[in-house]
Symmetry: D2
Subunit: 339 residues, 4 copies
C-alpha cells in the first residue's frame, strides 16, 4: 500500500486554493495538512475548513518544521519562490513550485543547487504540458510521426486583460503569460531555445504601456536542434482562451485546436454557429491541473524524475529575459547573453 504524501501549501491566492481543492478532492495519495499565507482572508479560511485542512496560519515554518510534511506546494508571489525553495530543500521536503521559478538567474541557480544537494524532487507548475491536446501533439512529435521538427508555432491569447495590480508585480507579459509558451515551445520541439527576437505593442490597454509592459507580442525563436518557431500573445480574445500549438517537420505537421463547451452546431439562414473555446485556464486546463499533481505524487512516490524540472523553469525564465531584452534593444538576443 502506497504511503499518502502529506503536503503544506504556501500561498492561498487563486492558484493555491485551486491546488488545495484538487489535492483534497482529486489526488489519491496526497493530502494537505497545513496551509499558510501572509494574510489569511476569511474566504480562504472557510475554504480550507471545507476542504478539511485544519492547520492554517501565516508562518511558513509551521510547514518547514513539521516532520510529518513530505512536500511543499509553493503558490506564493514570484519574488518569494527561490527563498521558499531553498528553505524547503534544506528542510528535506519535496517541492512543487508554481511558475515562474523566480525572477533572477543567480538566485534561481542557487536554489537549484540547494535542491540538488538535498536530493529532493522539484517540479515546476507548467500545467500546459499536462493538457490532453498539447500532450498528444508532443507525443506525436516525440514518436517521430512528423520527422525532425522544423517550425514550432504557438498561439496563446487570454480572454481578457488582468487587473493593473496583478501586472504591477507579475513581471509583465513575458514572465506571467508567455513563460508558459516558452516552456511549451521547448517541450514541443524537444530542444532548447538559443535565440529570440521580439515585436511587442500596446494595443489592448494603455495601462500596460504605463507600466512599461506590452499587451500584444510576437516572439520568434531559434532552437538548438535547428528548428525555428514563433509565439504570439494577446491579452485580449473576446471569444475565449485561445490556446493552439503546431509543429511542422520533415514528414508532416501536427497541431491542436481549442476545447469547446459542446460540439453543438446550429445551422440557420444566418449561418452555421459553433461554440466558443472554453473561457479561460480554469476551464481549459482543469484536468491538467489535476494531472500535474498526480504526476508529482507519482514522481515523489516512485523516486523518479519529475515531469517538469527546476532546470526547465530556469530555461523558461532565461528565454523570457531574452525576449524582454530583445523588445527593449530592438535586436535578436541570444540566450547565452542572459546571466
Amino acid at each position: 500500500m502506497t504511503k499518502v504524501i502529506t503536503t503544506g501549501i504556501i500561498g492561498l491566492g487563486r492558484i493555491g486554493k485551486l491546488h488545495a481543492a484538487n489535492i483534497q478532492n482529486s489526488i489519491e495519495g496526497m493530502q494537505v495538512k497545513t496551509a499558510v499565507d501572509v494574510v489569511i482572508t476569511e474566504e480562504a479560511a472557510m475554504l480550507m475548513k471545507k476542504l478539511g485542512i485544519e492547520n492554517v496560519g501565516t508562518d511558513a515554518d509551521r510547514i518547514f518544521n513539521d516532520p510529518e510534511i513530505d512536500a511543499v506546494i509553493i503558490c506564493s508571489s514570484t519574488d518569494t519562490h527561490t527563498d521558499f525553495i531553498v528553505r524547503a530543500a534544506k528542510a528535506g521536503k519535496h517541492i512543487f513550485c508554481e511558475k515562474p521559478i523566480g525572477s533572477d538567474v543567480a538566485s534561481i541557480e542557487a536554489a537549484l543547487r540547494e535542491v540538488r544537494k538535498a536530493g529532493v524532487a522539484l517540479q515546476l507548475g507548467f500545467v500546459r504540458r499536462f493538457d490532453h491536446n498539447h500532450k498528444a501533439v508532443r507525443e506525436a512529435v516525440h514518436a517521430g510521426k512528423i520527422g525532425k521538427p522544423e517550425i514550432v508555432k504557438i498561439t496563446s491569447r487570454d480572454p481578457a486583460a488582468p487587473p493593473e495590480a496583478y501586472v504591477r508585480t507579475s513581471g509583465g507579459l513575458f514572465f506571467d503569460m508567455m513563460i508558459h509558451d516558452f516552456d511549451m515551445a521547448c517541450y514541443l520541439a524537444g530542444s532548447q531555445v538559443t535565440e529570440v527576437f521580439t515585436y511587442g505593442k500596446v494595443l489592448v490597454d494603455d495601462m500596460f504601456g504605463k507600466l512599461g509592459d506590452v499587451d500584444t507580442a510576437i516572439v520568434s525563436l531559434v532552437f538548438e536542434n535547428g528548428a525555428i518557431g514563433v509565439i504570439d500573445n494577446s491579452r485580449r480574445a473576446p471569444y475565449g482562451y485561445d490556446q493552439r500549438v503546431e509543429v511542422h517537420g520533415a514528414l508532416g505537421c501536427v497541431q491542436d485546436t481549442n476545447d469547446v463547451g459542446s460540439t453543438c452546431l446550429l445551422s440557420t439562414a444566418d449561418g452555421v454557429a459553433a461554440e466558443k473555446p472554453l473561457w479561460f485556464f480554469l476551464e481549459r486546463y482543469n484536468a491538467a491541473f489535476i494531472a500535474e499533481l498526480q504526476a508529482f505524487t507519482q514522481a515523489v512516490s516512485d523516486g523518479k524524475d519529475v515531469a517538469v524540472s527546476g532546470e526547465d523553469g530556469l530555461a523558461a525564465i532565461k528565454i523570457a529575459m531574452a525576449a524582454k531584452k530583445s523588445l527593449d534593444e530592438k535586436r535578436p538576443v541570444s540566450i547565452s547573453e542572459i546571466k
Copy 2:
C-alpha cells in the same frame, strides 16, 4: 446550510459502483451510508471500504428500515426495479432508479402510483440528457432556434457487443440500448412518440439471433407534435462509441458530434489523422453521470420536479415494446397498442 442527503445503494454492478464513487467523490450534498447486493464480491467490498461506505450487506431492508436514509439509488437488475421502487416509496424514501424502469407496463404503473401516493421524488437514470452536447442541442430546440421540430435523428452505436450473459437478461437491444435513444428522441423533440416502425438485423454476432434479439436496427418514429424521426443502433463500432443527435426544424438544423480524446490533428503524406470518439459510456458520459446525481440532489433538496420522471421511464419502455412488436409483426405499431 443545506442538509446532506443520505443514500443507500441497491446493486453493486458496474453502474452501482460508478454511482457510489461519484456520490462519495463528486456530489456535494449527498453521501452513501449503506450499500447492498444479493452477493457482495470481494472487489465490491474493497471499493466500498475505500469510498468510506461502512454498511455493506445483502439485505435491502438495512436501507428501507434506516430512518437516517433519505434516498435510495436502485442499480439492481431490471426485473427488481419496480419492486424496490414500491418498497422505497412505502418507506418514504426518494428514489433514483436506473433505466429501464421495469419490464412490464402494469407493474410500472403500479409502482408509479405508489410513488405518487408517497409523494417522494423519483428520477430515472437517462444519463444522456445531462451530456453537454445533447443538452446544448435540446436547449437550442427548446429556445426555438430551429423553429418547430420536423425531423429528429439519433445515431447510437456501441463500440463492441456485450457478453452473452448480459444480453440474456437485459431484454435485448430495444430495452438495454435503444431505450436511451427513445428517451433522447422525446427529450429532443419535446414531444411523445406515438408510433414506430422497426427494421432489425443480426449482422454483428449470431449470438444475438440465437437469443431472439437483433444487433443492428433502424426504428422510424412519429411524434405527437407532427415531427418524424429515426434512430439507428449497432452493437459494434470499431472506432468507438458513436453518439450523435440532430434535429431539423422550420428555421434550421441543430446537431452534435462525438467527443474525442484530443483535438490533435496529424497531417502527413498518408492523410490527415484525427482522434477517435471516446471509447464508451464511462468515458463519454463521465461528467453526465455526475450531473444527473447533482440534479437529483438538487431536486430532493429543493422539493422541485426531477429532470427525468417515472413517466418518462414508462414512456420509453412503451416505445421499446412497440419497436420490438413492430420487428416481430413487420408492421408499424402505435404506442396506444401497448398495455
Copy 3:
C-alpha cells in the same frame, strides 16, 4: 485523335440549358449541334446562340433524322422520357437521359429492351454519383475500408420548396427528389433495395398536401446484401442544400459533410461562425454535372459500360413507387410488389 461526339438536346428547361452550356464550354470531345423544345423561349434562343448552337427548333426529328448526330441528351419532362429513349434507340443514337427514367415500369422496361436491341449506350442523369464527396465515400466502401456495409444513411434536404407548377408534374417528393437518394443508397451499399417503409408528413407547405404529396419524409430501406438504411428528405432547409451520406460497416464508418462557400471561421464574443452549405444543386453539384457528361463521352468513345445504366434508372423508380405505396398503405412494401 478522338472523334468529337455530336449531340442533340431535347428540352431546354433549367437542366437542358445547363447541359448545353457544360457541353459547349467544358466537355472536350462532345459538342451540341441541335437543340429542340416544344416551345423555344427568347431567353433559350439567345443562350443557344451565345453557345454557338445554331440548329434550334421544336421538332425532335431534326435530331433523330440527322446522321451527323451521335447522341441525344434527353432533358424534357418525365412523361416523354421513355418515348424519346425508344426513338433515339431506333435511330441508333446513344442516349443520356435525365432522371427519372420514366413514370411507369412497363414503358421503362419496353424502352430498355429497345436500347439493348439497338446496342446503344444509355446513361441516366444520377449526377450525385459524380460528386467528389459521395464518390469518395462510395470508393471507401467499395475498397472494403469499412468491411461489409450494415447501415446506410442519407440526409437530403432542399433549401426551399419548388413552385406548385413543378410539383404538379414532377410526380412528387419520391419521384423528383428522393429518387436521387434511392439511387445513391444502392450506389453506396453496392446492393439493391428489396423493401421500404415510409413515414411522410406535410410540414413545410399545405400546397403539398393539396396535391397529394408530402414535403417531409423518412424512408427505411432493406438491401439485398443484408444491410439496412434510411433516407430523410425535407423540402426546406433555410441554411442551404443539405446533402450528407454515411455508411457504417463491420470495420468502421465513412461519411461526408456538405461543401461550403469558404472555410472562413469568425470567432467573436457572439460565438464561432462558419459558412453555410452551398445553396442548391447548381452550386453543390456544379462539377458533378460536368463529370457525368465527361463520363458519358468516355463511355461512348470507348464503347465501355456507362456509369449509370437504364437498369439503375428503373431500380430507382421501383423504389420510389414502393415508397409511395408504403406511405399510402401504411405498411412495409417489397420492391417485388412493384410491376
Copy 4:
C-alpha cells in the same frame, strides 16, 4: 454589348500556358490573339493551336505593334517584367503582369511612372487575393467584424521543393514564394508593412544553402496601423499545399483552413482519417486564377481601378528585399531602408 478585350501573352511557361487556357476557355469578354516566347516548344505550339491561338512566335513586337491588341499578359521571367511593362505602356496597352513585378526598385519605379503617364491599367498577379477563403477573411476584417486588426498570421508551405534550375533564377524564397504572403499580409491587415525581422534556415535541401537561399523561414512584420504579424514558409509539406491565414483583432479572430479534395471522413479502429489539403497552387488556386483575370477584364472594360496595383507589386518587393536583408544582417530592417 461589351467589346471583347484582345490580348497578347508574353511567356509560355507554366503560368503563361495556364492564363492562355483560362482566357480562351473561361474568361468571357477576353481573348488571346497572339502568344510569344523566346523559344516556342512543340508542346506550347500544340497547346496554342488547340486553344485557337493562331499567332505564335518569338518577337514581342508582334504584340506591341498590333493595334488590335488591347492588353498584354506578361508571364516571362522576372528580369524582363519592367522592360515589357514599359514597352506595353508606351504602346498604350493595358497590362496584367505576373509577380514579382521586378527585381530592383529603381526600374520598377521607372516602369510605374511610364504606366501612369500612359494611363493604362496595370494589374499584378497576386492570385491569392482572389481565393474564396482568403477573400472571405479579408472581407470580414474589412467589414470591421474583428475590430482593429492586431495580429496577422500566415502559414504558407509548398508541398515539395522546386527544381534547382528554378531557384537559380527565381530570386529565392522571399522573392518567388513569400512574395505572395507579403502581399497577403498587407491585403489582410489593410495596411503597409514598415519593418521586418527574419529567421531563415536550410532544413529541407542543402541545394538551397549552396545557392545562398534558405528553405524554411519565419518573418515577423510590423504594420503602419500598429498591428504586428508573422509569416512562416517551408519548401516542403508532405501533406500538400498548406495555405492558412488568420487575423486577430480587438473584437475577435478570423481565420481560414485549407481546401480539401473531399469532405469524406473514415472512422475505423485505426483512427479517423480525413483528406489532405489540395496538392499545390494549380489545384488550390484554380478558381482564383480565373477570378483574377475576370477582375482584370472588368477593370479594363469599366476603366476602374485594378484590384492589385503596380504599387502593391512594388510594396511586396520592398518587403522581400527587407526580409532578405534582415536575414543577411541578423537585425530588424525598416522598409524605408530599401531604395
